[in-house]
């Protein structure tokens, strides 16, 4: 295993700790110039010296030796698994990274870029295929263009056109050209908002998602019990429509309620004792499993994702987790435990998932559904299902249950022969 990146991590940790190079060198009993060579990856390091540095910097040894190198090898293996490389070469990723660090970095960088571009294609394709506003906007532009083309062609080709018809068609072209200018601007603005900083887009749910994303799905005032929901919504530049304000209010009120039942402080404490065990945590705090799933997703440092759906399959809430694709429009994969949980409300499900085409990434998903609103005699309750998405660390991937393959949504899923498929995939069509 190469040590090239260990030096960089030592330097990063030292700078973070505010320790001078000469000071750290003195503490561990080496010269500052030798430490400088180590930090610039020009000297190999290991054994006691590395232990001394970790101790002096007050960090775990693994913080200096693992991470970047492990991530590099994992990325190389991910790149290898997407090719038809023989197993003997696949197993030599670590050796390759050690012998050719520059090439390894370049290959890993290219692979990460490829994965990023693939994700962008998925998101844009998802939007183009399912966004009703975009479809209506494109239809408006094309229909107006059709009208102008047809009318202009009559004016150009019919030399015997009466003055009355000519005036009429000129007026139509004038009106249509103005309409085309407006609808084109709307369309461009709509597409630009995907890449620009303003994610304020058409649908109320998108406004709410932009609001939540701007706050990284967490609000200090919600956690400390001082939240003023109305003011939070009024002050949010992302929320412009009444419908979005209504949705945001519902979400914030539920967050406040959840926070009052389970504080992040107590939750962190309990996680340290029992780990990520949703039924146990729900029993400990005396709340429903969906409530504890929402609270686990609210712990910022965990990086867990969360999806909430109603019985019609509409995704009411989305918080992504690295590598787990949640479609913005249209229906999600019916194989997700999120939907299985609908059939057994209050029963908690746990399933390890793998999204094909996403390298080796796996996710432990916990799902449970619960009735919403008042219970009335002989009237089936409304049910909402909640799914927590927990990325599985590479080191834990070989232990635990075998992963079950699912996709993001049919249109952007390459899995062939899936019983749940609703429409052909653009990926399998050679897009």
């Amino acid at each position: 295993m190469r040590e090239a990146l260990t030096g960089t991590r030592i330097r990063d940790r030292r700078v973070m700790a505010g320790t001078k190079q000469s000071e750290l060198a003195r503490q561990i009993g080496i010269s500052a110039s030798y430490l400088n060579l180590i930090e610039h990856n020009r000297r190999r390091i290991g054994g006691k010296l590395l232990l001394d540095i970790a101790s002096a910097l007050g960090v775990e040894l693994s913080a200096l030796t693992e991470g970047a190198e492990a991530a590099l090898v994992a990325t190389l293996r991910e790149a290898g698994s997407d090719s038809t490389m023989p197993k003997s070469e696949f197993d030599s990723a670590e050796d390759f990274a050690g012998r050719f660090p520059g090439w390894a970095d370049a290959l890993a960088l290219s692979h990460r870029k490829l994965v990023g571009l693939e994700h962008t294609v998925e998101v844009l394709s998802d939007r183009l295929a399912h966004d009703p506003q975009l479809a209506a906007s494109v239809h408006e532009v094309l229909s107006t263009a059709a009208s102008i083309r047809s009318t202009a062609s009559i004016l150009a080709e019919d030399k015997d056109l009466s003055a009355e018809w000519r005036d009429r068609f000129h007026a139509n072209i004038d009106a249509d050209s103005r309409r085309l200018a407006d609808s084109s601007k709307t369309l461009v603005g709509f597409l630009d908002s995907e890449t620009g900083e303003a994610a304020i887009t058409g649908t109320p749910q998108e406004e709410v998602e932009a609001f939540l994303e701007a706050h990284s799905h967490g609000f200090e005032a919600v956690e400390d019990g001082t939240a003023d929901v109305i003011k939070m919504i009024e002050d949010a530049p992302q929320i412009t429509s009444l419908a979005a304000a209504h949705i945001a209010r519902g979400l914030l009120e539920r967050m406040i309620d959840d926070s009052a039942r389970v504080s992040l402080y107590d939750l962190r404490d309990e996680i340290a004792k029992v780990g990520i065990a949703p039924p146990h945590l729900a029993a400990r705090f005396g709340v429903s499993v969906p409530c504890i799933l929402r609270r686990l997703a609210a712990v910022p440092e965990l990086g867990f994702g969360l999806v909430v759906a109603d019985r019609a399959g509409s995704l009411l809430f989305r918080k992504g987790a690295e590598g787990f694709v949640i479609p913005r429009y249209g229906s999600a994969c019916p194989l997700w435990p999120l939907f299985q949980a609908m059939g057994q409300p209050t029963q908690a499900l746990h399933q390890r998932l793998h999204m094909p085409g996403r390298g080796e990434a796996m996710f432990d998903c916990f799902a449970a559904a619960e009735p919403i609103g008042p219970i009335a005699l002989n009237i089936p309750p409304l049910v909402q299902s909640t799914m927590l998405i927990v990325p599985v660390a590479a080191a834990d991937a070989s232990t635990g249950p075998a992963p079950f393959g699912v996709g993001p949504a049919c249109r952007i899923c390459a899995v062939a022969d899936c019983a749940g498929r609703r429409e052909p995939s653009i990926l399998s069509d050679g897009f």
Partner: protein, 124 residues
């Protein structure tokens, strides 16, 4: 006696332009803008050919076509679909539903006139 075309379309200026070019060729052209009542109008008017938009208020052109083809009386009625949705899968869906001819917007007047003429001749 001139042949009768029913134009099911909700864009007023497209109706006017297409009506003009088809009328100039000797067709009698009527129009209808509401998807929800289009099938009922076709049953009443009994045109020789229908020019059908895909995206209509009330009911899509595809649903109208499907409903028409389910009625044995309209199994062979020529239907020209004009649509802004021109992807391969849209065409495939329309063909499965029984469309006679599929044309994407923006279209040329000549294409429309030629298609209408050919379709009526074939239906004879």
């Amino acid at each position: 006696m001139s042949k009768h075309v029913l134009l099911v379309e909700d864009e007023v200026n497209i109706i006017e332009a297409v009506r003009f070019v088809l009328s100039r060729e000797g067709w009698q052209v009527d129009s209808h803008s509401d998807g929800a009542t289009a099938v009922e109008t076709i049953r009443t008017v009994r045109p020789d050919l229908v020019v059908l938009d895909h995206m209509l208020p009330g009911k899509s052109g595809l649903d109208i076509l499907t409903e028409l083809r389910a009625d044995p009386e309209f199994l062979t009625l020529p239907v020209l679909m004009l649509t802004a949705r021109g992807q391969a899968r849209d065409r495939e869906q329309a063909e499965k539903a029984g469309v006679s001819r599929f044309m994407t917007k923006p279209f040329s007047n000549t294409e429309v006139v030629t298609a209408v003429r050919d379709m009526v001749q074939l239906a004879r």
